[in-house]
């Protein structure tokens, strides 16, 4: 440690730290625009000029390393003169249109100008005007306001890995713009809204909706992937106006994915169910809650006598409290078939372990960032968990080797060391070869099943790197999890991890997927959604999903719901489909409208409070379940506060199997061509699918099949008959693989347990 003096105050610092960081640490304010702790140093705005004794000129604090005994003045006449001069220059061409600017009230330029600006400008010439370009549905541009700090440009270059913005032109005509005519497509593009210190880049969906000072900021947890990013929900008159990130180095750092940022538009969607509805004689009637709940109990009661005939399908985005109460309510009546794994078709792992085997990250995100070798197995990580992808990108930029086993050559935002693009069976076979290569390297016995594997130099290099890297991990992603060979992917990955000393991370996808396992929202009786659909259920309870879109069981599930005597829907949204199959529809609150808890991918229990009001009569699900418990005359349903439910849930977590290589599973093969489901960035859950800006963005699903088959159309057999979809010839897809976009009405009948290519 060294000592420096800032404004007469002695401050300790590490030699070579930048002055601005040292001052920030000591809470000594230095104005700045281009500096950002997560971005490289540009030193172009010149706002942070300070006086350093012995230096002839004022120096930029952001780019001046501290040395022992350095004496700094941030408010001396020389420093102030420099700061005021820069402020004056920044303002001469700035439009000063604060009254009509969305950044007003939370504008760094406004704040700094308040202290360092002059009352009256001396500049009386014409101001610069910069034409705007439409850069897509998420970000509004007013480039006349730009002060050229280049934070947005550096974000693309350094953080997102897509350099979609750049500076063109010189002098006063220098402009920040996209590449000719292009829009911004990054899955984390919204962060440039936060980074922009002025109103040049603002949120398009939020535009002109509310002023910063009119809103209430509620700390909360993001609900659209398994990281549980820390967010602030900003509400105006109890309605969600926007979502922004909260700093949390362990999870989202200072970033947020576009999905978590803009999904809220789906919360305010016009098709929210606002009142309980009951069907009588084919007619839907609005109900008072009391009547609706009584009817629900009446509908349910007869089936509870025969609990095996009741099936419950729940969103893995439901809270711990909601899932726990569902389990408590239904287990007490013998109903065990509560399922949140709506997109899994291979359950051999659970069968082998004798209990549910949960996915999860065994490494923290900072640990993943520090990996030296990463093997991605069946994962389009960038579109699955955008901010986890950032961590892997950071590792790669620091020199880590990233290799992938994938069914398609997905465009990653970092360089791959090597890749194998093949159908699932071939990928599993590759894992076996890697296991054999690793066993040979370690001189241990070759595990059964890998005896026939033929090791090439390529495989040896992969295995060697995993063995020799001090920090190595194997990450199993969504494609593997949703494939017919999930168990094989996990087991062979686990065996490879055991042999090489790498960690194994099976990446959870949904906000509370891990929590659902822990509180028992997966069947405890060895069952699963597949076996549930195979049995003859008389009653279904459907919670928080669009059943025709949120599973991979398509027509099979639709037929099961059609054939059941009773379907009870607890839903945030009204839909024609739900009306067509349900007997009663109860309006529930979404995550911003309830207190709750998500367990994230790394196993952190993260609670949040109510941020916004549920529309109309919609109620938090945990409160509905509480009353249903009372109506069913059950004990232990007298909670006053959600915290009480949480305490109980924590104390009663379910015993789970772990990911182990020594499990034995029955062999399964996978015929070609194999049809696999693909969830686009913005088709993953009911809220996201209803966010209009996201549906207009680059990551939205298109009703097009992708394959390396040369055909204009592909016909898929489903239990409801053949459907024809346009085919996009795509050489990046492995031969023998057909990728079908899921979560779309066009593919709602596709049933991944019962699908084949009929013709192309």
């Amino acid at each position: 440690m060294i000592k420096i003096e800032i404004n007469g105050q002695i401050v300790e610092a590490h030699e070579g730290d930048m002055l601005i960081d040292v001052a920030d640490e000591a809470k000594i304010p230095i104005p700045r625009f281009c500096y950002h702790k997560k971005l490289s140093i540009a030193a172009n705005c010149r706002m942070c000029l300070v006086e350093v004794e012995g230096a002839p000129k004022a120096l930029p604090a952001c780019a001046t390393p501290v040395t022992d005994g350095m004496k700094v003045h941030t408010r001396s006449p020389k420093a102030r003169a420099a700061q005021k001069a820069v402020m004056e220059f920044l303002l001469i061409n700035h439009p000063l249109d604060c009254p009509i600017c969305d950044q007003g009230g939370e504008c760094e330029l406004q704040d700094v100008a308040f202290e360092y600006g002059n009352d009256v400008g001396k500049y009386s010439e014409a101001k610069r005007v910069v034409p705007d370009h439409d850069v897509g549905p998420l970000i509004a541009t007013d480039m006349t306001r730009c002060i050229h700090c280049t934070r947005c440009v550096r974000f693309g270059q350094e953080i997102s890995g897509l350099m979609e913005l750049g500076a063109v032109g010189r002098s006063e005509w220098m402009e920040i713009t996209t590449y000719v005519g292009k829009s911004i497509t990054s899955e984390i593009s919204g962060n440039i809204i936060d980074l922009c210190p002025v109103g040049a880049l603002t949120s398009k969906p939020f535009r002109f909706k509310a002023r910063a000072w009119e809103m209430v900021a509620h700390p909360s947890i993001a609900a659209h992937d398994s990281l549980g990013s820390h967010i602030e929900v900003h509400t105006y008159q109890d309605k969600v106006m926007r979502v922004v990130p909260r700093d949390n180095e362990a999870i989202n750092e200072t970033w947020l994915s576009d999905r978590d940022r803009f999904a809220y538009e789906g919360i305010n969607s016009q098709d929210r169910l606002t009142v309980p509805l009951a069907k009588s004689k084919g007619q839907w009637d609005e109900q008072e809650w009391e009547d609706a709940l009584n009817q629900t109990v009446e509908l349910l009661k007869p089936h509870l006598n025969n609990p095996d005939t009741v099936g419950v399908l729940v969103s893995p985005n439901a809270t711990v409290e909601e899932l726990y109460l569902l389990r408590k309510l239904l287990h007490a009546h013998g109903v065990k078939d509560i399922e949140t794994r709506l997109r899994q078709i291979d359950f051999r792992l659970d069968e082998a372990a004798g209990k549910p085997v949960a996915p999860g990250l065994v490494n923290t995100l900072p640990e993943i960032e520090a990996m030296e070798s990463v093997l991605l197995v069946g994962s389009n990580l960038r579109y699955e968990i955008p901010l986890l992808n950032l961590r892997v990108r950071k590792a790669q930029l620091e020199g880590a080797r990233v290799r992938v086993l994938n069914v398609a050559d997905y465009p990653f935002t970092f360089d791959l060391e090597d890749k194998v693009i093949a159908d699932p069976q071939a990928l599993v076979d590759t894992l076996k070869v890697l296991v054999r290569a690793a066993a040979e390297l370690k001189g241990t016995e070759i595990p059964a099943g890998a005896e026939d594997a033929v090791v090439s130099e390529q495989h040896q290099a992969w295995a060697k790197d995993l063995v020799e890297s001090g920090k190595a991990t194997i990450m199993v992603g969504a494609m593997a999890q949703q494939s017919p060979l999930y168990a094989d992917f996990v087991l062979w990955s686990a065996r490879l991890a055991d042999l090489t000393g790498a960690t194994i991370n099976v990446v959870p996808q949904s906000a509370n997927e891990v929590g659902a396992y822990q509180v028992g929202a997966v069947p405890a009786n060895g069952g699963n959604i597949d076996s549930m659909l195979a049995s003859d259920k008389k009653a279904w309870i459907v919670v928080g999903i669009d059943p025709e879109l949120d599973t991979v069981y398509g027509a099979r599930l639709k037929q099961a719901l059609d054939q059941a005597d009773t379907v009870i829907s607890l839903t945030a949204y009204d839909s024609e489909y739900l009306r067509s199959v349900s007997d009663i529809m109860l309006p529930i609150a979404v995550h911003t409208e309830t207190a709750g808890t998500f367990v994230n991918a790394t196993g952190d229990w993260q609670s949040f409070k109510i941020a916004s009001a549920a529309p109309g009569d919609a109620k938090p699900l945990w409160k509905i379940l509480r009353v249903l418990g009372n109506l069913l005359d059950m004990d232990g349903f007298d909670y006053v506060h959600a915290d009480e439910v949480l305490e109980e849930a924590k104390a009663q977590t379910q015993s789970l199997g772990s990911v182990q290589g020594d499990l034995a599973i029955p062999a399964r093969t996978c015929d070609k061509p194999v049809v696999l489901g693909e969830w686009s960035l913005y088709s993953v859950d009911p809220i996201v699918r209803r966010s209009e800006p996201l549906q207009k963005a680059a990551g939205a699903a298109r009703p097009v099949v992708r394959s390396a088959i040369e055909a204009d159309e592909i016909v898929l057999n489903t239990p409801a008959g053949p459907i024809t979809l346009p085919n996009e010839y795509d050489e990046s897809v492995a031969p023998g693989v057909v990728l079908v976009p899921m979560g779309l009405s066009e593919t709602a009948d596709v049933t991944l347990t019962d699908v084949s290519v009929a013709a192309s």
Binding site: C45, F89, L90, N93
Partner: protein, 428 residues
């Protein structure tokens, strides 16, 4: 006027037929030094010592001692290193390097080879101004001839030393003459200066140790080594050795390049250029290129053409670009043109320069077009003062210095414009 020795170094072959051809160059001692270096007869340290003894200072404008610059590089550090030549000659009034490229390119090639050898660089780039198409072709032809003669490439003349030389044509931006902007430009990026430190000697082209020298500096090296550092030093004055090429332009009878010895009186240089044209009197001189301070005639006529003497007169030798203005020159119009240049050429990266150059130009232009206001003079002084010393590179200062110096010496002309809406020479 006593006879003034001319063209003793970089232009020594310019009078010859096909002076740019390798045969001409070799017939006049060309590449002899390079062969000695490769044969091990001159060690890198001996070369640096000789260059230091020559007292040569960087000819690109900043005047940094070349030998000292070379000594910053660790020749034996592992990994690639680069030697770059800055032929992006863009300063208004400067055209000396163009004639080296056109008429004596091989001496520059040899200088780059030697410099690369000294600093341990196996690769060199000559970055040539975008508008210099003919000089570009001449230099590139010289490089090809050197390759054909086995003087460039792998294992040159069996020495075990490799050196590849590339010619890079710029795209017409003044700022790319700034050494770190030049580096960015070679890397394929937008040409804008980097914040320093780190300096190129530690983090240069592609993040590797790099030395950048001006064309004239590098072209002088073979002569320094052939004739000795002392010979070169003795041509000049204490503290600044050698000859210097002065590009004389403006209101003279014979504008052109004159390679003369450092310390030659300005009066003699003016006489060489045929004196002020049309028999008029001298009014002012910009001695070192448009970014150096303008001097009124009486100060200019007392100075000698070397760093110290010009500094004493209140300006800077810069790149040796002497702009002569006769007694009819409208200084407001001249400054209007100069401020336009810097406004146009600011890279736009940092705030004071991006915003301030346009501001200064608009105010000067307003004065020139008869719409000046009394407060404009103070505002110009204020704005130019606010830019100086607060920017990443030298361009901001380069833009501010003309404004400050024109107002220092010729404020009355600006006042006349503001009061009468016209030049002091207009008898409206």
């Amino acid at each position: 006027m006593a006879s003034i020795p001319l063209n003793e170094c970089c232009y020594r072959l310019n009078h010859l037929d096909k002076s740019w051809d390798i045969e001409t160059y070799m017939a006049n001692g060309g590449y002899e030094v390079w062969k000695k270096v490769l044969a091990g007869e001159l060690t890198p340290q001996e070369i640096i010592d000789e260059v230091k003894a020559s007292n040569i200072r960087g000819r690109g404008g900043a005047g940094f001692p070349t030998g000292l610059k070379w000594s910053f590089m660790n020749r034996y550090a592992p990994g690639p290193k680069y030697i770059l030549c800055n032929s992006d000659e863009g300063e208004p009034g400067t055209f000396k390097d163009r004639d080296i490229l056109r008429y004596n390119p091989h001496q520059l090639v040899e200088g780059m080879m030697i410099a690369g050898y000294v600093i341990g660089a196996n690769t060199g780039y000559n970055y040539i101004r975008g508008e210099f198409w003919e000089p570009y072709k001449r230099f590139d032809q010289a490089v090809q001839q050197a390759y054909e003669a086995g003087l460039l490439g792998k294992n040159i003349l069996g020495s075990g030393w490799d050196f590849d030389l590339y010619t890079h044509l710029g795209a017409g931006a003044y700022i790319c003459g700034e050494e770190t902007a030049l580096i960015e430009s070679i890397e394929g990026k937008k040409g804008q200066p980097r914040f320093k430190p780190p300096f190129p000697a530690s983090f240069g082209l592609y993040g590797r140790p790099t030395t950048i020298n001006n064309t004239e500096t590098l072209a002088s090296i073979p002569m320094i080594l052939a004739k000795g550092g002392k010979w070169f030093a003795d041509l000049g004055v204490p503290g600044a050795g050698g000859t210097k090429i002065f590009s004389v332009s403006g209101h003279v009878e014979k504008p052109g390049n004159y390679e003369i010895r450092m310390g030659t009186p300005f009066k003699d240089l003016l006489a060489l250029a045929g004196g002020v044209w049309k028999g008029r009197k001298l009014k002012a001189v910009i001695p070192g290129g448009s970014s150096t301070a303008v001097l009124p005639a009486e100060k200019a006529l007392e100075m000698n053409m070397d760093y110290d003497s010009i500094a004493k007169a209140g300006s800077f030798l810069g790149a040796g670009s002497v702009i002569i203005m006769d007694e009819t020159t409208d200084m407001v119009k001249a400054l209007d043109r100069l401020t336009w240049f810097y406004y146009e050429e600011s890279c736009g990266q940092c705030t004071p320069c991006r915003e301030g150059t346009g501001w200064m130009h608009r105010v000067v232009h307003r004065i020139y077009t008869g719409k000046g206001r009394p407060e404009d003079i103070d505002m110009l002084k204020d704005v130019s003062g606010k830019i100086m010393g607060r920017v990443i590179c030298g361009l901001g200062d380069a833009a501010a210095i003309p404004v400050a110096s024109f107002l220092e010496h010729f404020e009355h002309e600006f006042r006349h414009y503001i009061e009468h809406g016209c030049s002091i020479y207009d008898r409206a």
